[in-house]
Symmetry: C2
Subunit: 155 residues, 2 copies
């Protein structure tokens, strides 16, 4: 179990692309998505499938990750809720930290979000100019909520 | 992933006890319980904690089991739905098969159920006299449903 401290933001321009890697494709679906718990299966280009349970909500959540066989992930998809989420994740360095920029595809385009994992909840961070409004505490931007309810409001 | 073919019955007397082992204590809780999917964490005396996902319903279900650290199981219990289920499971041989007799504790007592895992859905089986009404297709006897809705009807 890891305690995850993450802040999430809208992305308001393409200026991050000059600093980013080529990105990896992610396909993920939710088996549960409710207040206090999501159960997600993620397929990421070049990696084993991962079953992830997240507890709690907001800035600080419990995260439990287990590698599972790809065949299990394939079979579990039949039980998914709502919409399967497809996106490309790019990594952008920010000093000693890394920003994950998610470019959503399909029904969620043109949404682009940025997440920063912090070593502590009160860790100070100077944000680049392409980072927009913070949505860490807005449950509509949780990918589990998006799978059920659709795209959140635009930037 | 295993395909599980199981029939479930009420137990109508204590005659099975002469044939049974001493049993093992089971404590389990549900993180999801809906039509087509349950997500369960089971702690069983002397074994590692197991995260189990079951898909489908009725006689034949998909079952996905992953050992997880005990500390993860402890932390995940905070997100459980409904009632934590405690029971003692006894094994009773039946020819080449094994009957699992579950004696429920707490709010589900005095419920006692028997499950038989079959090699095929049409596998013939001669049932002992202490086996009562079949409840395989009654969703109220699924332990995930019981965690949410309470004890099912008595035998």
């Amino acid at each position: 179990m890891a305690q995850e401290i993450e802040r999430k933001f809208h992305v308001t321009s393409d200026d991050w692309r000059a600093l980013a890697d080529a990105g990896t494709r992610i396909r993920q679906f939710y088996l549960a998505s409710r207040e206090g718990l999501t159960v997600r299966v993620r397929r990421r280009e070049g990696r084993p499938a991962v079953l992830t349970l997240k507890t709690g909500s907001g800035l600080s959540r419990g995260e439990f990750e287990y590698d599972i066989p790809d065949a299990d992930a394939d079979a579990l998809e039949a039980a998914h809720l709502g919409t399967v989420i497809e996106k490309r994740r790019h990594l952008v360095p920010l000093g000693s930290l890394t920003i994950e920029v998610d470019v959503f595809a399909g029904p969620f385009a043109p949404l682009v979000t940025a997440e920063i994992e912090l070593p502590a909840a009160d860790h100070a961070v100077t944000l680049p100019s392409w980072i927009g409004r913070e949505v860490t505490d807005d449950p509509r931007y949780g990918n589990g909520a998006m799978a059920l309810a659709g795209a959140p409001p635009p930037a």
